[in-house]
């Protein structure tokens, strides 16, 4: 899931300082589950922006999917056209889809944080950096690219203490976790293998996948 967090309201207000009429768009998928861009959060932001005229609100099913967004915004064209600004409570992909489709000045209501795992609502952990070259089969199902700040590939640096990371003592050392899990699974042989430098061409941005030719 794409994990987002709310932008400070002062930042949102600053970006709206020249706008009178505002339309708020949420996200019915990740940001609803995150409780950052669902119906509740759209209502909450409507209240916080009481000095503006809120010309409309909607929580599209999946705003980062342009087809679904188009469908969900179709009935709202007039209200959208009357707005000076759209505030989008969605991830960066969702915000850009809104801007691209509506061609309206669109301002972010959320910061996009990471691709994460949901432990429970309100507890999210980054688990993938979308490096484009998955090594989880070699590392006991724990991603060192994401969970080691140095993205080391050949075991832990000498900075771990009490099995915690030198960068943040509250976080586990990814490579100690990998070591323990692989040892438990009888896979230390794989742990010992030398891993060559990464190929960063596999994650050069902007990435795109077009396997189907546009009609």
């Amino acid at each position: 899931m794409i994990i987002t967090e709310k932008k400070p309201i002062d930042e949102i207000k600053e970006s709206l300082k020249d706008s009178k009429k505002v339309f708020i768009i949420g996200c019915g998928t990740c940001a609803t589950l995150n409780q950052t861009g669902g119906e509740e959060q759209v209502k909450e932001l409507t209240k916080l922006l009481s000095d503006k005229e809120i010309v409309g609100t909607v929580v599209p099913e999946t705003p980062c999917d342009k087809r679904l967004l188009k469908r969900d915004l179709r009935a709202l064209t007039d209200a959208l056209n009357s707005a000076d600004t759209i505030v989008a409570l969605a991830c960066g992909a969702g915000i850009q889809a809104v801007a691209e489709l509506t061609r309206k000045y669109t301002t972010p209501g959320l910061n996009t944080k990471f691709i994460g795992m949901v432990e429970r609502i309100g507890e999210f952990y980054q688990r993938c950096l979308a490096c484009g070259d998955c090594v989880l089969d070699e590392t006991g199902g724990i991603c060192p690219i994401t969970r080691c700040p140095k993205a080391l590939l050949n075991g832990p640096c000498a900075g771990h203490m009490d099995e915690k990371c030198e960068v943040n003592h509250e976080k586990d050392c990814a490579w100690v976790l990998i070591y323990k899990r692989m040892k438990d699974m009888g896979q230390l042989g794989k742990f010992k293998a030398f891993r060559k430098p990464r190929n960063f061409q596999k994650s050069t941005s902007p990435q795109q996948i077009v396997w189907r030719k546009p009609q």
């Binding site: 099995e163 030198e166 030398f194 430098p197």
Partner: protein, 299 residues
């Protein structure tokens, strides 16, 4: 037999080798560190020159190594970390090191960038230390860079790495040392050591590896420093009686050096190649520490 460096020769032919460590100045003038180099010149075989240590900006290691060697004649061990340079910059610096006459290199991954004085900077870590060792091995043995392109003249450096005998769990560190040795590491300098029992166990665990171990020696200059190190330095284990002795004495520097002379006399009979003496920003104490060890007859 010909040796790449005095360090390699000492490790091959002497019973006990002592290296020191200097930090380049946060300055555009080399003068401060030259004084330090002159102070330790007769006490050590070679000195490490650190690479933006603890992620703080100081003068370039490469230039500092060159100027120390040229102006004082003291051999250097060029420390290189993967934090601030990508694989292109690392390789070009290694070629330059060889051209400048530098003979030894110590390869490190490097402290993370948020530990230093530019915490907002972009960390690089394009390679890790094992991968950089692999790159150097390829350059030296096959005459190729990481792209597989031929080097007209390959570098010829004596290659070392770091090791931390006090880590828990220790097995991943041993596996990492195995990888480093497989990638051409001939000597390894250790984290500061205070408890001989830790080293004894570690030396036993790495007896299968063909690598010269230089044990990190840093005198404790106060009980507060000892407590700080235990809390903040990974793998540093300091016996309580050392802290008690430091508390009980007025001349803490003298006592700190005395304690380390005792440690060295206990570890010297283990299968170590020597020691690596580090006192941040205090070259005078590196010299004093080495002189005290030599005077004690411990080595």
């Amino acid at each position: 037999m010909s040796f790449v460096s005095s360090l390699e020769k000492s490790l091959a032919t002497s019973k006990f080798t002592i290296t020191g460590e200097l930090t380049p100045p946060k300055s555009a003038s080399i003068e401060d560190i030259l004084d330090g180099a002159k102070l330790i010149k007769n006490d050590v075989v070679a000195t490490n020159v650190t690479d933006n240590p603890t992620s703080r900006v100081v003068m370039s290691t490469l230039a500092t190594c060159h100027l120390i060697e040229k102006q004082t004649g003291l051999e250097t061990i060029y420390q290189i970390t993967c934090r601030d340079r990508n694989r292109l910059a690392l390789q070009s610096d290694i070629l330059a090191a060889n051209a400048l006459g530098i003979k030894n290199i110590l390869v490190l991954t490097g402290d993370y960038i948020t530990m230093g004085d530019h915490p907002e900077a972009k960390p690089v870590f394009d390679l890790d230390s094992v991968q950089l060792l692999w790159a150097i091995k390829r350059m030296q043995e096959e005459g190729l860079d990481l792209a597989g392109k031929k080097l007209k003249t390959p570098p010829k450096l004596f290659v070392g790495a770091a090791v931390n005998p006090g880590l828990d769990p220790i097995e991943p560190e041993i596996i990492r040392l195995e990888k480093k040795v497989a990638m051409g590491t001939k000597f390894a300098q250790s984290q500061c050591l205070y408890d001989p029992n830790v080293l004894e166990k570690f030396m036993d665990q790495i007896s299968h590896l063909d690598v010269k171990i230089l044990v990190g020696i840093t005198p404790l200059l106060s009980a507060g420093m000892a407590k700080w190190m235990v809390k903040n330095c990974p793998g540093v284990i300091i016996p309580d009686n050392m802290i008690k002795r430091l508390k009980a004495t007025d001349d803490k520097v003298k006592e700190g050096i005395k304690i380390m002379v005792e440690v060295v006399s206990q570890i010297a009979p283990m299968k170590i190649a020597g020691i690596h003496v580090m006192v941040p920003e205090r070259a005078d104490l590196v010299a004093e520490m080495v002189k005290a060890i030599k005077a004690s007859g411990a080595v």
